[in-house]
Symmetry: C2
Amino acid sequence: MARVPFETVCEVITEAFVRAGMREEDARTCARVHAESSCDGVYSHGVNRVARFVDYLRRGWVDAHARPAIFREVGVIESYDGHRGPGILNAFFAVNRAMAIAAEQGVGIVTLRDTTHWMRGGTYGWHAADKGYAALLWTNTESCMPSWGGKNTRLGNNPFVMAVPRGNGHIVLDMAMSQYSYGKLQVTRLKGAQLPYPGGFDQDGKLTAEPGPIEQSMRILPIGYWKGSGFAILLDTLAAILSEGLATNQIDKVGRGSCTGCSQVFIVFDPRQLGGAEFSDKVADSVADYVNSSTPDEKSREVLYPGQSTLRIRAEHRANGVVVDDDIWAEVMTLAGRTAA
Amino acid sequence: MARVPFETVCEVITEAFVRAGMREEDARTCARVHAESSCDGVYSHGVNRVARFVDYLRRGWVDAHARPAIFREVGVIESYDGHRGPGILNAFFAVNRAMAIAAEQGVGIVTLRDTTHWMRGGTYGWHAADKGYAALLWTNTESCMPSWGGKNTRLGNNPFVMAVPRGNGHIVLDMAMSQYSYGKLQVTRLKGAQLPYPGGFDQDGKLTAEPGPIEQSMRILPIGYWKGSGFAILLDTLAAILSEGLATNQIDKVGRGSCTGCSQVFIVFDPRQLGGAEFSDKVADSVADYVNSSTPDEKSREVLYPGQSTLRIRAEHRANGVVVDDDIWAEVMTLAGRTAA
């Protein structure tokens, strides 16, 4: 593990993306999202994900120069085709458009079809909250998890994001439908450790906290067993219908990497057009305070609301440098042309 | 257990509600929702919930004659004060208004503040889907569950509903944020059984599938541990902000029974205004087929999408009578004045 200043992380990733064919401004935007993800402790979609995105660009699975194009407008709902452009750029475009509509109409809804991986979904929730908007966003994905009661993968991880702005720290949820990601399984296995709670079934259908057998069976557990399974199904269906795009079963046939061809929904509210920013902030404070006033359980020293620990990690990484894995950072430096391959 | 014809269940509950002070038409609407819940196998909010609702009416916690009143209209968003009228009537009003707006604008959003228990949330999802709409609905509630890492109750169960219409059977999710309801804990304890999976922590912080110790500690488990905890927090905050109503921490101070004073959000989409009913149906079919085509696991004979088993239970109960608990049915008959108290 090493520490790299945040701005350096941004610069190096920008260079890697430019060398992979992106325009500099686009590369800078995407690089910043990867850097911020690592900075917020979401390593899986931060620096660790740079090489894979470069690979997708080189294979032509992501079109560096494609831009979203509108194909339907119905009231506050605008529907765009993402043309398999960079998922980060498409998602920023979408959430920004939704915010612009919401500023006029109280709510703005933008859908994207045939887009590509948006990386960390929380990015767009934090972004909206930073501008004073509340957001409800999700994407579907290729299948990686069985439906409840099934053995083979049928459901996407379908990350779901909710964000509420708050002067004293936004409340932001960014959750996938599986209890643990495959990344978490791998990291835990490499440490020789167990998952904190059971994370899936082994090949014989036994619930287990051992990561290895779950990686082999691909029978990862949906959050809340049957409930998360159902939630994933509905998010997928509604995303495909609203965006007039692909559902998970169709994304599985695209076969051009994770999320290529996926469907996304961005619902953004402007509290300033409703009860007002002051009221909204007061509600958010009351919720945060109520959670924080919990009596900690036997394993905890404090009880936090979603997003609260993110701000602490962010501040620490900004002050002391972003934590990067040595090998992964070396690879990114190579992709940036800063060291020999 | 007894079997009672569906129409008889409706009639008897209607009489009970009329005797508690409701107008007959209103009583009929509410009774039908309770009857349909039992008919669909959701006993907790069906016949089993009649006596409690009558009690709330008699205490004045629910105002039988109150009607929702609009206090803000911003584009496709209409905000109503529920005036603590019957939650079922308020929720039907809200979802019907949202459908009417969606029919014109593609999406309709109605919020309710200071309403009362809507009983089975899925009711309004099924209702919207029956009319060809997709829906995303939720309510907040009083606290009944600790935040992740905490010991004392801070979070509502905040039922969350998603529905997508489908010619061959709607896809409908109706889930609370706890892994199990207190009702399920009680029923399981009375049987002397264990929960299928751990459902909470005992007073010493040990995760357990024994219902009794969880009922005592009130440390029921959110779906997906920290994830469901976060989801409950965001649903609560956003419901209160959008409806300009109370958050869970404020509902806790109302102290007039479950959900009295709660905040609700009804987001309804009209697929006919977007990609069209045919496209929407095709997507929903593809999702349902993909799930149904799963290889069943060791414990299952088939793999179903959310709402699929509901239709089977409904058909069976319609054909053979609704299953009711003898003692509970006797109590409802008494409330209806059909038998002596």
